[in-house]
Amino acid sequence: MNLNYIVNILFFFLVILKLLRGKLNMIKYLKIIVGVFVLTSFTVPLFAQTLIGVSWRHFQEERWRIDEAGIKDMLAEIGGDYKYISADAQSDPQKQITDVEGLIARGISALILLPQDSDGIVGALGRAIDEGIPVIAYDIPIDHPDAVFLSFDNVAVGRLEAQPLADVHPHGRWAIIKGDCTMPIVDLFFSGQQEVINPLIESGAIEIVADECVDNWKPDVAQSTMEQILTKTNNGVDVALVMNDGMAGGVVAALKAQGMEGIPVSGQDGDLAALNRVALGHQTVSVWKNSYELGKAAARVAVALIEGKTPENTTTFVTPSGHNQVARLLEPIAITKDNLNLVVDSGWISKEKLCQGVTSNAPDACK
């Protein structure tokens, strides 16, 4: 990695120098840059190892480093000759296609693919399958019958958001704040929530006083929406079923203005601010998708596929065009006041940040 950078930077300066002197035209310059990138991507010498290739879509984002650590640690735990190699598409779907082709050329035995453009990458994925290389669609589904889909179970996310609320307050008036309803994933979350709340609605235990969608999942819109719901019902809301942590922030702000903070509120993502709210008692649950675990699962599935075994705990995932994929869907964790130590122990959040402002009624993790 470091070597790549140094070589790249040297070439870059050389080309710039030549450009300045007028010895190169633009086209040539571009050709050289592309050539250098392709060459230096593969400077690591080949050993007689089983290579597991990962094509990241945008490794600059903080989150994927946690996934990578999961993959690497699991491979080390499994032992053997497995070696991790990777390429970063830097958000460019075209580059990702060349990345995948390059990884295939280097002789990988399994490909973990986090697509930038899940439709555009199908062709490159097909070439890997043709070479007999198993492909894992990581985190985001790719519509190809032979890809193995690995992600968190989004229906379970919805279920886990609703369940803790139903546990503490299985009656009364509920307000539902959904995310951007133009996104298909909202339906997955909502179908999970419905599994929990529909029986309660049918039995007449709970009443849905509002059901709203929020553009782009914006916290400020969620806040004004909640203000309107509270006004409409004259503060007659007992539970707020909110689809993510950002919006839960807006909803809690609206509740605070009415002195109502502390009623059950849900969320997901394990946002640091949301975990702080859980510690303060202003939010009941934040459903957390531990991406370190997702990375570990990816390594396990890849090794199983290389060894010709069926990965453990698989289910079937039906893609939009009706292909049945083998899928491993991890169960997310519902973080509540009782298991906050999980996020501290895994290094996701520092105890100091988690417990900021917590005075009375501190949860165990803050003691």
Partner: protein, 403 residues
Amino acid sequence: MDKEKNKNFFVRLTNFLDLDTRLFGLIFATALIWICFNFLTGGIFFSPRNLFNLTAQFSVVGIMATGMVLIIVARNIDLSVGSLLGFIGICGGMFQINILEYGNSFNWLYACLLMLVVGTLIGIFQGLLVAYFGIAAFIVTLGGLLIYRNGAWALSRGVTQAPLDENFLIIGGGRGGTIGEFWTWVVGIVACLIVIFYAFYIRRRRISYNFKVRKMWVEIMLLFIWVSIILGFAYMLNSYQRPKTDGGAGIPIPFLILVAVAAMMTLIANFTKFGRYVYAIGGNPESAELSGINVKKIIMMSFVLMGFLSAIASIVVTARIGAAATVTGTMTELNVIAAAVIGGTSLAGGVGTVYGAVLGALFMQSLENGMVLIGIPTPIQKIVIGFVLIFAVWLDSMYRRKK
């Protein structure tokens, strides 16, 4: 005389009262939807509590719309304000959490200053590129839209910044974020006095230039309506009793900031050289240039002002939510532009008023506020807003064609 007869009732009424026709149309439309909503919600819409909500909710877009008017009048556009809202918020949030010591009583001031500086610097940057480098404002600010939104991502790595300083949160109008009954009356009465003095000042000036003035009784009747609106509004806000607090709530601080900004921007637009030059440039850039106006400097200043106002709006929105999130303000630029256009700002430049833009923002927020109260499904809400936008601009162009 025949001409006068052909015009419809509204045109004759506005001519008689000597009001801005477009503004009158907007006030009329707002009043109409308010009455409809009040009827459909069984009186909830007009309750003190909902008026309080409404004032706090439309402040952010209102503050930015006052600056957008001048940008559009000078024949430019700023698409970056929504992203800027998020970016400045993240800067302020990270500054409070990572650099300032938690609990220090002046933290809110330092954070506000930093946010204002960041907003102004970005305004200078965009102004330079548009005015002195001659790059189209559409492109500069479209680039800005991408840069600031993703800059906020890169800075915070997508992490929502919270919890923020307690004193800072007061600016957002949450608990403790109102000025109370007494000061609300003070502000209301001062506002009435200003309106009265301003009306007579304008009247005297018009007389001294031998312009047509309203009949005295019309003038007094209009002033009476204004005063009763202001005092009635203050009364409504004062009669809103928040749970777990003593006394009436009064004016929320975001709305107070909006009023101050709108007053300042009205003064700038109408009484400073800068403001008048902006309109001159919008009316005809070539003749403005030829008559010796430093067009580049004026354009640059309009962007600096916009950056500064975006920072104020960002302070309000961040304090209101109590957290700085990277997605805050996504697509808000369109709300701001729409507020200005509904408020009578012409996208062709040269025409537009600050108070019109504020009214436009109030109109848009009233629609959103009321439709949630009625419980209309979210997709239908958006469809209605879409149609209303088109309808408002169509009405506007009809009026202009008639003129």
